[in-house]
């Protein structure tokens, strides 16, 4: 019970902080639209190649941009931890009765909420731009689930890095180093059938690809649920591992104090 109260208080605090930084909030909300429209325009004619199925490129791209946005925005999650360290809030938090797993859970709850809002914006933008999705509410929920799981993976990773490197520059460098290559080494933008062999082999181990494949599949007229469950299962397992990593990083951080 205490843990739940703590998590609620802490995620409430971070949502409040977000709401008081209008410029950052605006950026958080506009960015997802930008990706979809930008890539949608740039690669519009790619869908004319065989291998993309019958729909337009936006239909193909939307679930990919949803998960890509989830990853990119979660990659920044650790900056709040560095802020807290620089502001001295961290020391105070560490000697409060809040348990380490609760700290991580609260941050992840916040990130999950942000991800859901961003994902809905991408869907809305896609609809307005003429994309059409099948799969109904279950399909939509599956995509949101994949985006949230991927966000949890990257947010936990970002927390762990933040606790170990303790500075914005290093955190951002590490995050940037991973994020774009992972997006391009996946089927977010390019149909698996059209990728070079080595890229599709690498993509099989890429959580971004797991999320993209499962999301696209869930929006088909007749989804193959085995594929969806397999990929979401992998994502969930990875999310648990990275969350554990984030909790352990708090302990490592504290040992160095």
């Amino acid at each position: 019970m205490t843990a739940l109260t703590h998590a609620r208080l802490l995620s409430g605090r971070s949502l409040r902080t977000l709401s008081r930084q209008p410029a950052y909030l605006l950026f958080t909300l506009v960015q997802p639209m930008l990706w979809l429209l930008l890539f949608g325009q740039l690669f519009r004619r790619v869908a004319e190649l065989p291998g993309f199925g019958t729909g337009g490129y936006l239909d193909y791209l939307t679930p990919g941009v949803v998960v890509m946005t989830a990853m990119m925005s979660a990659g920044w999650a650790g900056t709040t931890i560095v802020d807290d360290m620089e502001r001295g809030v961290m020391d105070r938090t560490l000697i409060s009765p809040i348990r380490r797993p609760t700290l991580v859970a609260a941050g992840l709850t916040h990130q999950a909420l942000v991800t859901v809002v961003q994902s809905l914006i991408v869907f809305g933008t896609g609809l307005l731009a003429g994309a059409r999705y099948h799969g109904g509410p279950l399909g939509l929920l599956t995509v949101l689930g994949c985006a949230v799981l991927l966000a949890l993976v990257f947010a936990s990773f970002s927390y762990a890095v933040a606790l170990l490197v303790r500075q914005h520059e290093a955190l951002i460098a590490i995050s940037q180093f991973l994020v774009l290559p992972l997006a391009f080494l996946s089927s977010v933008m390019m149909a698996p059938a059209l990728m070079p062999g080595w890229v599709s082999r690498v993509a099989r181990f890429n959580p971004v690809d797991w999320a993209a494949v499962a999301s696209r599949e869930a929006l088909q007229v007749d989804p193959n649920w085995t594929v969806v469950l397999q990929r979401t299962g992998l994502l969930a397992a990875l999310a648990i591992v990275t969350a554990w990593l984030a909790v352990s990083s708090y302990r490592v951080h504290q040992r160095s104090l």
């Binding site: 409040r16 502001r87 809030v89 000697i95």
Partner: protein
């Protein structure tokens, strides 16, 4: 209830090759303001971090009201409040929100938290600003908010790490009054670190002087000063090169005890300053030592520090070694 509020026994801690604590021990009885006085880098903050369960010692042990900080950190956390050296509030939240958050984390209901926050805001004169973001407050107000945050869950022991560093003189006096009140009226044990001699002198009922990770002296400020015996005669030399000759001349004066030279000045312990000063001046004049300043002072904590650490506090702050330092003109 344990008769000791805070106990540190032979604490040792190293960061890499830097030995931060080298067997530091002290005990604090409940209900007083206790000072941990020392120059920057003496190990004060490390000590506080260990006592507040934030970090672990390499060796030694510590307890709060008899509860071991290493074995039961979660129990210790309920007994203590902590005001870190750097501000520890959320600048994007209002003062009220910061306080309420702190109380709720410690298990208060929303209603109880608001009531307690209202009381503390009132007490520290912050009510008018309560609903403004704390990041926009003045430095003095922010520091009071930090202290108030440490008090929200009514701790029995409050740790203040350099509470008045960076405050203007008026804000410092205000905060001193509040800290003194905590022990006097609320019966709280307050452990504060400071590198301001006058702060320790003014606030602490008991203090330890910390140097290079260990305690070099302990007692009440008066005990420590009286323990030196007598007064200090300080003279500023026109030529630092005269120091050795001046010391030799002083050694020959009856009633002059230990003499320490520091940069361009000499500090001599004497039994009765007013009586000895003219004799000292004529002895130095006879030895051809030219002076730029001379005076008698009751012993200060600086003298106590110098006696036990072998260098002046200002020098230690600047990272200097005993006996070398810039020319210092001691005002009479």
């Amino acid at each position: 209830m344990s008769t000791t509020a805070v106990e540190a026994v032979e604490l040792g801690k190293a960061y890499g090759k830097v030995q931060a604590l080298a067997g530091l021990s002290f005990a604090v009885r409940p209900g007083i303001v206790f000072g941990l006085l020392g120059p920057n880098g003496a190990g004060k903050s490390t000590t506080i971090r260990i006592l507040t369960t934030l970090s672990r010692p390499d060796r030694g042990r510590a307890a709060i009201h008899g509860i071991d900080v290493g074995e039961h950190p979660e129990r210790v956390r309920r007994l203590i409040g902590y005001v870190p050296q750097r501000p520890g509030f959320d600048p994007v939240a209002t003062g009220l929100e910061n306080l309420v958050m702190q109380a709720r984390i410690h298990g208060s209901s929303a209603k109880e938290a608001r009531r307690c926050a209202g009381e503390l805001l009132d007490r520290f004169g912050l009510t008018a600003a309560a609903r403004r973001r704390a990041g926009t407050w003045s430095g003095g107000m922010q520091r009071k908010l930090d202290v108030a945050m440490g008090l929200m869950h009514r701790p029995r022991v409050l740790f203040l790490d350099e509470p008045t560093t960076g405050l203007d003189p008026q804000a410092r006096l205000d905060l001193w009054a509040e800290i003194a009140r905590l022990a006097r009226e609320d019966g709280m044990t307050v452990l504060l670190t400071t590198h301001y001699l006058e702060e320790a002198d003014h606030l602490a009922a008991q203090l330890v002087i910390v140097d290079a990770g260990r305690v070099v002296a302990a007692g009440t400020p008066d005990e420590l000063k009286n323990g030196l015996g007598g007064d200090t005669v300080r003279v500023g030399l026109a030529r630092p090169a005269d120091a050795a000759r001046a010391r030799a001349a002083l050694a020959a004066v009856p009633g002059v005890g230990e003499t320490v030279s520091e940069g361009g000045s000499l500090h001599a312990r004497v039994r009765n300053g007013a009586a000895v000063l003219p004799v000292v001046l004529s002895a130095l004049d006879g030895a051809g030592v030219e002076l730029v300043a001379a005076g008698v002072a009751r012993p200060s904590l600086d003298d106590v520090y110098m006696r036990f650490a072998g260098r002046s506090f200002a020098e230690a702050e600047a990272g200097g070694k005993a006996g070398v330092g810039p020319l210092e003109v001691v005002p009479a």
